[in-house]
């Protein structure tokens, strides 16, 4: 038994090995990387630019009744345009919708990347890889956490690339922005991706059918996206939808990233966002580890 004693008992050894396996599968396949980054960029470009809500007002030139003297006509037009700008700012917190939406896309990238993490555990089970891993002394929790960790790393890298493109396409950072805020942005994305990938893995932990997994993903992704402030502020939603959005962790991730990138910083709100995200990540990661002890093997 001298053999097994010389082996490391460090759970990180196995965790990193399994994570690295997932990452290798990803970066060895540049096409997959390309596609997974292209999709959000297309969304951002088409949706963010097409829904040019600000232009509704700036392109608006009302025909005023001719009895108003021309001096006042200009004044009225000017004040309408000024008012409309205020409406936009009070709704979206920033003067242009593209900036608002492109920051929301960062969480969208995280959601769509983590969504597939459950899928890989289904495949590992079906192809027998999971059984082989379970027959080795690697910690059960490491098997789950490697899936979470690789999804997190992938999400963050993809979000970083998408953020770069957003800046190129016209995302204008807010007045309080400093490069240091980027750390906060990625911290928020880190927490939301831990929580989300844990949820999707939990759903898959016993599953042997990838069809079920696909159905679950399709069921969850758009509601999670629309019942949040990703594309539109919650304040304009009906009450019941606001309630849903207030529970949805994606709302808090978006709020945190927008605070840091676009808005004048509201420290109290930001701390609340991070607390909510931190609890979300912690609770679901912990549940994932605990259930892996019980349910990973049959």
């Amino acid at each position: 038994m001298s053999e097994s004693q010389s082996n490391s008992r460090n759970p990180l050894h196995g965790l990193w090995a399994l994570t690295n396996r997932e990452l290798k599968k990803w970066y060895k396949n540049p096409f997959l990387l390309f596609m997974s980054i292209t999709q959000p960029i297309i969304w951002m470009g088409l949706f963010g630019k097409a829904m040019n809500i600000g232009a509704i007002f700036t392109n608006f030139s009302p025909q005023l009744p001719s009895l108003i003297p021309p001096v006042y006509q200009d004044l009225i037009k000017q004040s309408i345009s000024e008012l409309s700008k205020q409406v936009i700012i009070s709704t979206f917190g920033t003067a242009d919708y593209f900036s608002y939406m492109s920051v929301g896309i960062l969480t969208f990238v995280v959601l769509f990347t983590t969504m597939f993490s459950g899928m890989s555990i289904v495949w590992d089970r079906r192809l027998g890889f999971l059984n082989k891993v379970l027959s080795t002394p690697v910690a059960r929790g490491s098997i789950i956490m490697s899936k979470v960790l690789s999804a997190v790393i992938r999400s963050l890298l993809q979000a970083a690339i998408v953020l770069g493109f957003a800046l190129l396409l016209g995302l204008t950072p807010g007045p309080d922005f400093t490069p240091l805020n980027l750390l906060g942005v990625f911290a928020a994305l880190f927490l939301i991706s831990i929580g989300l990938s844990s949820i999707f893995i939990l759903i898959a932990i016993r599953s042997t059918r990838w069809e079920t997994q696909m159905a679950v993903m399709n069921l969850l992704n758009l509601p999670l996206l629309f019942a949040s402030n990703s594309l539109f502020p919650t304040s304009l939603m009906p009450d019941w939808l606001q309630t849903v959005a207030k529970v949805n962790p994606i709302t808090y991730a978006n709020d945190a990233t927008r605070q840091l990138l676009l808005y004048p910083l509201n420290m109290q709100q930001l701390i609340f966002d991070f607390t909510y995200l931190g609890m979300f990540a912690f609770v679901f990661a912990a549940v994932g580890i605990v259930l892996s002890w019980r349910y990973l093997s049959k």
Partner: protein
């Protein structure tokens, strides 16, 4: 370390509350033995192995592997075993070497040791030339050899092989068995394996157990089991078809049973080769001439059919296992397109 590498005591697994896959199974495997697990599809072979490798929890009973309790000391068990599952489990997107190193990491083997061992094992299974190629380019035989190498990375005391030759062609099967024999010689492991190819089990295994409907129906050395059937079968005919000399033949020592059918005699006999001359002699003394004689040694196939019956198995198999079998077959053939 005990002299018994595996002791199984009343191991039982029930699926979905009523499907008894393994039903109070008892057996033990001696240190250094090659033990074969034979039985029809769905008999409970893989389920038993999965319990012994701590992937499945038994509903009842217990077992020790390398002296460790599979329920109370699962990590110790996992540390001392190697497993080659039925499926090809190596990651297609990684290279052969990367796959072996991944397995090593799962055992927490330090990188310097695992690098050295991986090279050694790759040489042993003759994959050194292909170590940096992606597994998706490997043929079935190469994948199987890679699985063997992965299973050996932690120098296991007990090695579990589940259908190691499933879907391989005859040459690759022969080669795989050579590796297994070589590995056993090199590392002196205890091996527990399942197979459908009975002539292989006969050739390789020190002892076999035939399992059916979740129960072990018979256990013993292949030779013993074949003899247990009542010896060799001799058929002979004599010149004078109408005469009945059954009573002459049955008096020859070591002849157990004689039956006359359509003018030929079917004789159950122990040690056929040595008894044949005395039978011929006895017949000649009785005044008859032997015109034709053939001797068949019972094979393990006959033992198997004797205990499991001849009816085909059409039990429903889990969709999952059929799927993984299909994938395994397809991968096995991928190199032969």
């Amino acid at each position: 370390m005990t002299a018994e590498a595996i002791i199984v005591d009343g191991l039982t697994k029930v699926f979905n509350k009523n499907l008894v896959a393994v039903d109070h199974v008892n057996f033990s495997v001696k240190e250094g033995e090659i033990f074969g697990f034979l039985g029809p599809n769905g008999a409970g072979k893989t389920t038993t192995i999965n319990m012994l490798i701590t992937v499945l929890k038994p509903n009842e009973g217990n077992a020790t592997v390398c002296g460790f309790d599979i329920l109370k000391q699962p990590s110790e068990v996992r540390n001392c075993i190697g497993v080659v599952p039925q499926e090809y489990t190596a990651d297609e997107d990684l290279t052969g070497l990367e796959n072996i190193l991944l397995c090593a990491d799962l055992y927490g083997i330090p990188r310097e040791t695992s690098q050295k061992r991986a090279q050694e094992l790759l040489a042993l299974v003759e994959l050194t030339k292909f170590k940096d190629k992606q597994v998706s380019t490997y043929s079935g035989g190469m994948r199987r050899r890679l699985e063997l190498a992965c299973g050996l990375i932690n120098r296991p005391h007990v090695f579990f092989l589940d259908e190691p030759t499933l879907g391989l062609d005859v040459q690759t099967r022969a080669a795989t068995w050579n590796y297994i024999k070589l590995l056993k010689k090199e590392y002196g492991m205890t091996i527990l394996m399942t197979t459908h190819y009975l002539e292989e089990a006969d050739m390789l295994c020190d002892r076999v157990a035939i399992i059916d409907h979740g129960k072990i129906v018979v256990i013993g050395a292949p030779e013993e089991l074949k003899e247990g059937l009542g010896g060799d079968i001799m058929t002979l005919s004599i010149k004078d078809g109408s005469a009945d000399i059954s009573d002459v033949i049955v008096k020859v020592p070591r002849v157990k049973e004689v039956k006359k059918q359509d003018g030929t005699y079917r004789i159950k006999v122990e040690d056929g080769e040595e008894t044949a001359p005395s039978i011929i002699e006895a017949i000649r003394t009785g005044g008859h001439t032997v015109t034709r004689l053939s001797l068949t040694k019972p094979t393990l196939d006959e033992v198997y059919l004797e205990y499991t019956g001849r009816s085909m198995r059409e039990e429903e198999e889990a969709k999952e296992s059929i799927f993984s079998q299909r994938v395994a077959m397809r991968r096995a053939r991928s190199g032969q397109r």
